[in-house]
């Protein structure tokens, strides 16, 4: 028996997300009195792999196969399912991000393992195995029993605190032969944005809505974000109008994020917007309308004109930085 965790890397480096997954897996393994095996796919050097041990991984299996450079959901599923059978994994943990969403359901069918997706707490119960997941876009949470022998959990991003435990993990480099006929995804072009903080990774997000009035008013919002090391986001009408790029749109039909701090400027707080941000640890709202629903979701609020408040906030942050 073991807990298996799939740790994603980006150009050979792990991010906080990977350590969060291992911390969570360690918590589950403790409940089950078993060990944690972390799987890494891609070229990651040994010193980087070792870092997974700092969060409790006992064993690290590194697969660095040239055929696995692009995400091919079938090939990745084969590799992970093979390893999980070899390791006799009873619980498999994967992120609930794009990659996890591509792999977890396929793995579920392959292993006949029920999936609890978007889980944000340690299992509530082991017998029956019960997880806590987001439903109705954050308007409700469900206790879900997974009945199969093998269980898959996809962990909501930024929902579990990092726990450092010195652990000397063993590293195994595994060469998994891949059936070439499984590799069906051909990547014709890659367009990467560089230098921008990835919205779904950001600890702090500064977001603007229609209350910002015009795209010309964004520089002070962007300046605040830059000073705070934050990513920028927006409401749907703002991206629909083309005031901001599409990939900044948060909400039910945009990105679902859970930063430590979400600053909503000129956003009314429609349920569809809240669906994407309600898991943020702290929400701050700046809005001229004291009755705007966003204030009900916020811990801190300023009733005021964004155009006047933003420059003052920028000045105040400069004071402390």
């Amino acid at each position: 028996m073991s807990v298996l965790v799939y740790t994603e890397n980006w150009d050979g480096k792990f991010k906080k997300l990977s350590f969060e997954l291992v911390s969570y897996a360690t918590g589950v393994a403790k409940m089950l009195s078993t060990s944690v095996t972390a799987v890494s796919i891609g070229k990651v050097d040994e010193s980087e792999l070792k870092k997974l041990g700092n969060y409790g991984a006992d064993k690290i299996i590194s697969v660095s196969n040239d055929q696995l450079i692009a995400l091919d959901s079938q090939a990745y599923t084969s590799v992970i399912s093979e390893i999980s059978q070899k390791e006799n994994a009873t619980v498999i943990i994967i992120s609930n991000n794009n990659t996890g969403k591509a792999i977890a359901p396929r793995l579920s069918v392959r292993l006949k393992a029920g999936v609890g997706s978007g889980v944000s707490k340690l299992p509530l119960n082991l017998n029956p195995f019960t997880v806590y997941k987001r439903t109705y876009s954050g308007n409700a949470f469900a206790h879900v029993v997974i009945k199969s022998d093998v269980k898959i959990i996809t962990l909501a991003q930024n929902s579990f605190d990092l726990i450092e435990i010195a652990n000397n993990a063993t590293i195994e480099n595994l060469n998994v032969p891949i059936d070439g006929s499984l590799l069906k995804t051909v990547v014709k072009d890659v367009q990467k944005q560089t230098g921008k903080i990835v919205l779904t990774d950001a600890d702090i997000v500064v977001s603007g809505g229609r209350g910002m009035k015009s795209p010309d008013n964004w520089p002070s919002l962007v300046e605040l974000a830059t000073l705070l090391g934050a990513a920028t986001a927006c409401s749907r009408p703002v991206s629909d109008e083309g005031w901001r790029p599409n990939d900044e749109h948060t909400g039910q039909t945009g990105k679902i994020i859970a930063p430590n701090l979400y600053i909503a400027v000129g956003i009314s707080g429609a349920t569809q917007h809240l669906a994407g941000i309600s898991s943020s640890k702290y929400i701050v709202a700046i809005n001229t309308d004291k009755d705007a629903p966003i204030f009900e979701a916020s811990q801190y609020g300023i009733v005021g004109d964004a155009m006047k408040v933003l420059p003052k906030l920028v000045a105040a942050v400069k004071e402390i930085k």
Binding site: V144, H249, T271
Partner: protein
């Protein structure tokens, strides 16, 4: 080529969710049911592709796993423009069960492109599309933000961390769609509504499969503390609170 669009029937996105007695299900009184927003957008894109004669898309079918009470949602999809519909007659209890039923439908009817949404707004599972593809042993592409047909070949754009990739996979495949797939959902016109009445809805009985998961109870999100208001003339106080009370900056 034939497209199958999987549609899920969900409460309107503005619904205030209440639970029924015992908190084991939601209270459905007064709920307005709609096509899951992603599925509405994937249907829109499928129809746009079909409108372009050069694409080679011959038909757009919608499939839904659900009881007869979800018929109005299926009719709405037909009114928007789907050619025909298939309803698997069963309570859509759980992802594994639903995906299994849709895979069975595809095995019998052969589609080239199967479109699913990235998540249903009720269960928020993000799994049905991937499961269908694995049941069928065909490729799946996730986080698809665009699809077009170039010389008879479907070409997709998918979101990756901090960027985009243009990918192709051989048909048949499952495209799991997200933001960007279509701009605005297509709305049913009067003529469409009239025509929908005579379009075929094929009823299929479900295949018995053991569900792997079960919701035992719902709960409301933990209430947030009341909002602390800070004077608009003194935003420095907000920065102080964020730094020293919330400790987030």
């Amino acid at each position: 080529m034939k497209i199958l669009v999987c549609i899920s029937n969900v409460p309107d996105t503005t619904t205030k969710i209440k639970f029924a007695e015992g908190n084991t299900s939601i209270d459905t009184t007064g709920i307005q049911w709609v096509i899951n927003p992603w599925d509405e957008l994937s249907l829109t894109r499928a129809l746009e592709l079909k409108d372009d004669a050069a694409s080679g898309i011959k038909s757009v079918t919608v499939v839904h796993v659900g009881p007869s009470t979800s018929e109005p949602t299926i009719r709405k999809a037909l009114a928007i423009g789907a050619d025909d519909a298939i309803r698997v007659n069963a309570e859509s209890s759980e992802a594994w069960f639903v995906a299994f039923q849709i895979a069975e439908v595809v095995k019998k009817e052969q589609f080239d492109i199967i479109m699913c949404g990235i998540e249903s707004s009720d269960y928020n599972g993000s799994v049905v599309g991937g499961m269908i593809s694995e049941f069928l042993g065909i490729p799946s592409v996730s986080a698809v933000s665009g699809i077009k047909i170039e010389n008879g070949q479907p070409v997709m754009t998918r979101e990756i961390d901090g960027g985009k990739e243009v990918v192709i996979v051989p048909a048949p495949f499952v495209a799991i769609v997200q933001k960007g797939i279509a701009k605005e959902p297509r709305i049913a016109a009067m003529r469409g509504i009239m025509m929908a009445r005579s379009k075929p809805v094929k009823l299929v009985e479900s295949v018995a499969v053991e569900p792997l998961t079960q919701i035992v109870v719902f709960e409301k999100p933990a209430p947030r503390a009341a909002c602390k208001f800070i004077d608009a003339d003194n935003p420095a106080q907000l920065i102080d609170l964020l730094q020293n009370e919330a400790k987030v900056i």
